[in-house]
């Protein structure tokens, strides 16, 4: 044991720790005051307030050292409060106060200011210096919907600069000038609004004073309660500390002890919460009568629904009814919804929005590994040498993980491979970028495997002991036509070869994929290939490796886990197998059906054929976000009873016959499962807005109304029901979830699992299954007349249909959808930046503003779909993944021209 001494008491030291960390472990966080140190930042050594006296022998001659960046060494005697260090600290803080306004009482962070605390701790009474130069004249920056600054309060600790660099990786902030004149700048000394700030709030949280803050004054201490819960906006699953006062949400901060996000969030999690009490929230159940919605009581609406569903069930059979559950809702609610559809209605017509995003992931990984979930955890980035990001733009869609991936990619020794048609933010930093033509993932991945095999980089021993089907697979791979692939994907084969070699040669390589993999006609096949690439190189079953889908919605993993799928029940059990159904029958106390139900697109087809009588949609705007808008609307109109459970009057709700006002994540308890299988506790922060109800309770009420006894919704008891039927939830109870949740599978005794497939796969051996590339029908049929390929993407500021984010300050940051177009293509069509472009597909046409950029190659266009005014999905078609039926949002054949008519004037406005 190595020891050092704190005030002559011996304590064990840890390798590589700083004196400050050492002191904190034994004397508490605040024992030594600091101003420039922060929990999630590297030591910086600016304030010097952390100084301690250090001797080589007991009470020996001391040297003053800054504890925050000095490593502790064996045998050192550290004195934390000698007269001289106390005086030093006080004298430094006195200097700070010579250039700081003395109006604490009116300051926004009064009572929660680190400078104030430290000044009190060191015992400052007055400032002895004569009046001198200062920076009190700096003016405030209130330009931004969220971020604010008042640099007259700045103490030049650089915490904001470091947070923006070390945590977010954005480099928006720096200092200008030098010495006494140095001043925090945003961009080239701009306002927040005019800078490249992505509003993550890391700087505001890091700032010890109110010099950088936000409009919610997140650091102010109003009499408030803090509730820890989970963000609703993406599959990263960031933990949030939500402050409330008398039932009103004041602000959100990120807890430093959160394993998922370590004090970080993106702007959606931290700032985009004001939708929750937006005046447009639905405040009553409504029934559409004669084309207009009428507000009705809950009792009336329940009776109406129960009667109708009962009648349809009796007259047309249970299969005339279908449900679409929501990946925004909790596990418990999703479980209830599928239980309702299966046990109360008696059909397997239950599906969720995973269909339109990650259904191919679940299916593909189930076929190759046996489990359709991320094999590893994001924390594994600390132990990997190589990341491969395919069809994902994590800095926009999964910002906190995106920031970590970007931090990884910035370090020269690390290898990063990006396979994406767009030069995404990560691609800018990547070692290898393969800008393939959309729709050619399968071809490129096959080529990568070809090179790995021919270069002798396949992991023979892993293949031999843990996989099946390789010989056949290898034969197929070696027979692929390299010339053809190079031609269709449009990337030099050497670029692909180098990336393949880099992936295979890395001691540990992790892959991450997103919707650019799944939302294709060959989505499932691509997932299988990514999995096989990991098998081929032995990148499975230990830290720092694996296949890690970046799950889109906050609980898309959970909704599938809970059985929101037409072919598998809660816990992924195959409902077509009688012995499985027996289990469900026993558990639900009724007989459940064994025929596979409708997937979402099949529901629409059934509706159009007149076979679907009722559809209950929870928390999903299928009109705006599902492909081929006009067809979806027709299908809804052709369904007798459309029930939409929502927060707002979305495009889908407008088409409904019955609207039910649900509750947001801030208004209910339950669990969300993030992209790394981490089941985390969502804790109710406020009561649902007046008139709305917790979604789980609505389902329970209707179950009861229809004669199935189900106890009232409550997270704890729901989990106790779920853990009996879902095997990998066996050990999950509300009380065990604690601060950071549990990663499934969780054994009965509560042991959770960070890494899957360590010793063997759930199906025994990993499967090599070859599939060759096939051109999507979309292009085979239409490429001739529609020569451009349109693909879709997301923007950081908005979430999917935008129903929530468009009702927050995010709206002010990003106001429109836009079309990315390469300068060459823009020139050819004489389109200028900001002008409207008319995009036409075989289904329809829309007009979108152009953003000219070389992020996309010539021939490729990319657009967002967050705003209903544009309805991009008027363009998207009917092609789906051949296996999982996930729609092909990523390849749409289009032609373009400069817009005419009103759009011309709009652009000029």
């Amino acid at each position: 044991m190595k020891t050092a001494y704190i005030n002559n008491e011996p304590h064990e030291i840890k390798d590589g720790e700083t004196m400050l960390a050492f002191i904190k472990r034994f004397k508490g966080e605040k024992h030594v005051p600091t101003l420039c140190d922060a929990p999630n930042l590297d030591p910086f050594g600016a304030c010097r307030v952390c100084s301690v006296a250090v001797a080589l022998e007991e009470d020996g001659k001391t040297k003053t050292m800054a504890s925050c960046h000095s490593p502790v060494a064996e045998g050192q005697y550290i004195y934390t409060d000698t007269a001289s260090v106390k005086k030093l600290r006080k004298n430094i803080v006195e200097l700070v106060l010579t250039d700081h306004p003395l109006d604490c009482l009116t300051c926004e962070v009064n009572g929660n200011c680190e400078l104030q605390d430290v000044a009190a701790q060191v015992g400052i009474r007055d400032v002895r210096y004569p009046a001198g130069a200062n920076h009190l004249h700096y003016t405030k920056d209130m330009s931004h919907p969220y971020m604010t600054s008042d640099l007259s309060k700045c103490i030049n600790c650089y915490r904001c600069v470091r947070a923006c660099d070390e945590v977010q990786g954005e480099f928006v902030l720096s200092m200008s000038g030098r010495g006494f004149d140095s001043k925090i700048i945003k961009g080239s000394d701009n306002t927040f609004m005019d800078s490249d700030c992505v509003s993550c709030g890391a700087c505001a949280q890091a700032c010890p004073t109110s010099a950088i803050s936000d409009v919610f004054q997140s650091k102010s201490v109003v009499e408030s309660e803090v509730t820890r819960t989970i963000c609703t906006y993406c599959g990263v699953g960031c933990n949030l500390d939500v402050s409330t006062s008398s039932g009103e949400i004041l602000s959100i901060q990120a807890p430093y002890d959160a394993e998922v996000n370590q004090g970080h969030t993106c702007l959606k999690g931290r700032y985009a919460f004001k939708f929750y009490d937006h005046p447009e929230r639905l405040d009553s159940p409504m029934i559409k009568r004669n084309g207009t919605f009428e507000k009705v009581s809950w009792e009336e609406v329940y009776t109406y629904i129960a009667d109708k569903l009962g009648t349809f069930k009796k007259e047309f059979g249970p299969d005339s009814i279908a449900g679409i559950s929501s990946a925004r809702c909790t596990n418990e609610e999703n479980y209830l919804m599928q239980k309702f559809i299966r046990a109360v209605i008696g059909t397997n017509n239950i599906d969720g929005c995973a269909r339109v995003c990650h259904s191919p992931t679940a299916l593909g990984m189930q076929q190759t590994f046996g489990t359709g979930a991320a094999t590893n955890s994001i924390d594994d980035l600390k132990d990997t040498n190589c990341i491969m990001v395919i069809g994902a733009n994590p800095t926009d869609a999964h910002p906190v993980t995106g920031a970590k991936l970007k931090q990884f990619a910035m370090k020269t020794g690390n290898v990063s491979i990006v396979i994406d048609p767009r030069r995404t933010e990560i691609a800018r930093y990547a070692t290898h970028h393969i800008p393939l033509r959309p729709g050619t993932n399968v071809a490129v991945l096959n080529m990568m495997m070809y090179y790995i095999i021919t270069e002798g980089l396949a992991d023979e021993s892993f293949i031999g002991s843990r996989t099946e089907g390789f010989d056949e697979y290898k034969k197929e791979i070696l027979a692929i036509d390299l010339d053809q692939i190079e031609g269709i994907c449009g990337v030099d084969r050497n670029i692909i070869k180098e990336a393949a070699i880099a992936y295979a040669a890395a001691p540990n390589a992790m892959s991450f994929h997103g919707l650019g993999v799944t939302e294709h006609s060959q989505g499932t096949f691509t997932v299988m290939q990514i999995a096989d690439l990991a098998l081929l190189t032995g990148n499975i079953g230990r830290r720092g490796v694996g296949v890690n889908p970046l799950r889109g919605q906050n609980n898309v993993q959970g909704s599938a886990d809970m059985g929101v799928q037409p072919h598998q029940g809660a816990g992924y059990m195959d409902i077509t197998k009688p012995e499985v159904n027996l289990q469900y029958n026993k558990f639900y106390g009724v007989e459940v059906p064994s025929a596979i139900g409708y997937k979402i697109p099949e529901m629409f087809d059934a509706a159009l054929e007149g076979k679907l009588k009722a559809l209950w949609v929870i928390g999903e705007d299928i009109v705006q976000t599902d492909p081929n808008t006009q067809k979806v609307i027709k299908a809804l109109n052709n369904t007798d009873l459309v029930i939409v459970q929502e927060l707002f009057m979305t495009e889908t709700a407008k088409q409904a016959d019955v609207v039910l006002p649900g509750a947001s994540f801030l208004e209910k308890s339950g669990t969300f499962t993030n992209g790394e299988r981490r089941v985390q506790a969502v804790r109710q922060v406020v009561e649902p807005v007046v008139g709305a109800k917790v979604d789980g309770q609505i389902i329970v009420d209707i179950m009861n109304k229809m004669g199935y006894a189900q106890p009232d919704y409550d997270a704890k008891s729901m989990l106790d029901e779920i853990n009996q039927i879902v095997p990998f939830f066996a050990g999950i109870t509300w009380d065990r979830l604690g601060k950071n949740g549990l990663q499934w599978p969780v054994a009965k005794d509560g042991t959770d699992t960070q890494i899957l497939h360590k010793e063997e796969f759930k199906i025994g051996k990993g499967q090599f299954i070859f599939n060759n590339w096939r051109e999507t029908e979309e292009l085979v049929e239409h490429a001739k007349d529609y020569p451009y390929i349109l693909t879709t993407n997301r923007e950081l500021e908005h979430y999917n249909c935008g129903a929530m984010t468009r009702r927050t300050g995010n709206e002010l940051i990003l106001k429109d959808d836009y079309l990315m177009i390469n300068p060459e293509d823009a020139k050819e069509h004489m389109i200028k930046d900001g002008e409207f472009v008319c995009i036409e597909s075989p289904r329809g046409k829309v007009d979108v503003k152009a953003r000219i950029t070389d992020e996309v190659k010539s021939g490729i266009l990319s657009t967002t779909f967050h705003f209903p005014d544009i309805m991009i999905n008027n363009l998207t078609g009917d092609i789906h993944d051949s296996e999982a039926k996930c729609p092909e949002y990523k390849v749409v054949a289009v032609r373009i021209r400069k817009s005419k008519g009103k759009y011309k004037t709009l652009a000029e406005a």
């Binding site: 304030c47 010579t98 210096y129 130069a133 660099d165 480099f171 200092m175 010495g179 700048i185």
Partner: protein, 551 residues
């Protein structure tokens, strides 16, 4: 310091230096435009704030530098010589006041009246010929100073010619690099840049850090006003410096040598570049030198006007194009320096010593000087001496000998000399006899040898003004990273200035508190060092100073 910025800047390698590019962009107008800086940021995948923040740090990049055509030296030696008001006045006859800026020490401390015009330095009598300088191509930028050595003529030894001079290097390449390092360790040559750290140990530390890429940086930022010995070596003995860097590269397995030369020495930059070109021509640098495994390339980086860039970690940040703020240690540059790679930073004079050590063995150097301060040392004397110049003396030589026998004594009465730059001690005239020229003697007497520049404070120069000047310099040149120095040097300057110009009296306790705060609290020796001469002044010139204090 930002690890990310180091990595991103390093991606392009030293050949495509971000900092270099900024310097080039500033050439035309004196400052790069915001658009140009934004573009650079994009090219290097960094933030607009980063390039803007860096540019605004430097005297010769910041927006205020736009349109400057001439710079008047405001270094300590020229200030003490009292020549600079006249320089400004004369220049204003030819140029707009807005076209005239400041530079701190042009290395013309021996002639004073120094100024820079159109990229050239002038001093002494040049001022009388402004007609032939302004708007003309002229050779009047030359200067003269004495150069002489004591018993051992090593650093000042006349240069023969390239082949002969580099023979010991070729010879060293045939030896095990470890044994070459051993000679350097035996010599016990200590750093001449100020801190006196044994060079051999630093090289060994770097050698033992595994990395395929390593750098040798020659610190030619000679920022101490009053010092021009590095300038002498760079301009008169450039090969001694390049030789030293090659050897340092060989023993540490580094293959890049970077000379960071201050912009205030335009002539040095040209001369060193010529010397590098000569080596290239002779095949003494490049890949696989003389058919060996050893490869080495040189690159000159021109500084842009900031004293703190002489501090080694600030210097590294500077080369990376980051703001030159001082880094925390550890990690030491020898472990993680330029672009986060192992890096040696040595002073010009330290590197120049290697030729003798490699040619004659470590013990030959060790035999010269004192037990702990071995070898010879260059001393620069300013124009208050009868014979201003560069003198090479054995370590341990009495200071009085240097001043009187070499320097020929003072021209007029001097009440103190500041030795070792602005952070060096203020030696009152009566203490000169107590000192010998070596690290220990100075330290024992409460002074600092530093880089061994000597600036005289004339009898009629008020010490309070000297203190104000020191604080002003310290504040102006503070990098601003650490609280004590950023704020404390400013407050020190304000107190001295108010005491000098009004009936304000300085609170003695507060003043001592301030000095102690700077000494104990500062992150680097800039803020940490400035109290030394101030304390010397308080101790030795109390009679003169007490009127400014309240007790």
């Amino acid at each position: 310091m930002s690890k990310n910025l180091s990595e991103l800047s390093g991606r392009k390698g030293i050949e495509e230096s971000l900092f270099d590019k900024m310097g080039q962009l500033a050439q035309e107008r004196g400052t790069p435009s915001v658009e140009e800086l934004d573009q650079l940021a994009d090219e290097f995948l960094i933030g607009k704030a980063n390039t803007f923040g860096t540019a605004t740090f430097y005297d010769f990049l910041k927006p205020e530098n736009q349109g400057k055509r001439a710079y008047v030296c405001n270094g300590t030696a020229c200030v003490c010589a009292g020549t600079q008001d006249k320089v400004t006045k004369q220049l204003e006859k030819h140029l707009q006041p807005s076209e005239i800026g400041h530079m701190t020490c042009l290395g013309r401390c021996h002639e004073n009246a120094a100024f820079n015009y159109n990229g050239k330095n002038f001093s002494g009598k040049a001022l009388e010929n402004l007609d032939q300088i302004i708007g003309k191509e002229t050779e009047l930028n030359s200067d003269t100073y004495h150069v002489k050595s004591g018993a051992n003529e090593i650093l000042t030894n006349p240069f023969s010619e390239v082949d002969q001079y580099y023979a010991p290097f070729i010879d060293a390449l045939t030896k095990d690099s470890k044994s070459v390092l051993e000679e350097i360790k035996i010599s016990n040559v200590r750093g001449r840049g100020g801190a006196g750290f044994p060079m051999g140990l630093k090289l060994e530390f770097c050698r033992n850090t595994e990395n395929a890429t390593k750098f040798i940086i020659c610190n030619a930022d000679e920022g101490d006003p009053g010092a021009y010995s590095d300038r002498y070596l760079l301009e008169q003995r450039p090969h001694s410096v390049l030789f030293g860097m090659l050897i340092a590269g060989y023993v540490t397995h580094a293959s890049y040598g970077i000379l960071y030369i201050r912009a205030e020495y335009p002539e040095s930059i040209q001369i060193v570049q010529d010397a590098i070109d000569a080596l290239k021509e002779k095949g003494l640098i490049g890949r696989n030198i003389q058919g060996t495994e050893f490869s080495f390339e040189f690159k000159i980086i021109q500084a842009q006007g900031s004293y703190i860039c002489g501090e080694e970690t600030a210097l590294i940040n500077s080369i990376e194009g980051q703001r030159p703020e001082v880094r925390v240690r550890p990690p030491f540059p020898a472990q993680q320096g330029l672009f986060n790679k192992p890096t040696i930073v040595n002073n010009v004079e330290t590197l120049a010593a290697l030729h003798h050590i490699i040619s004659n063995g470590g013990s030959a150097w060790k035999a010269i000087g004192t037990e702990r301060s071995s070898g010879t040392k260059l001393v620069s004397l300013d124009s208050f001496f009868n014979k201003p110049g560069i003198y090479e003396v054995d370590m341990g030589t009495p200071l009085a000998t240097v001043f009187n026998e070499f320097g020929g004594g003072f021209k007029s009465e001097v009440k103190a000399v500041q030795i070792g730059g602005p952070l060096g001690g203020l030696v009152p005239a009566h203490k000169i006899d107590a000192l010998t020229l070596d690290f220990e003697s100075f330290a024992n007497e409460g002074f600092l040898l530093g880089h061994a520049s000597v600036v005289c404070v004339p009898q009629d120069f008020p010490i309070i003004q000297f203190i104000e000047h020191l604080f002003d310099f310290a504040s102006y040149e503070s990098c601003g990273k650490c609280f004590p120095c950023r704020l404390g040097t400013k407050r020190g300057q304000e107190m001295a200035s108010q005491a000098m110009n009004s009936d304000y009296k300085i609170d003695r306790e507060l003043f001592h508190d301030l000095l102690t705060t700077l000494e104990e609290g500062s992150l680097c020796a800039h803020g940490g060092g400035i109290p030394l001469p101030v304390r010397n002044a308080l101790e030795y010139f109390d009679d003169e100073l007490k009127q400014y204090f309240n007790s």
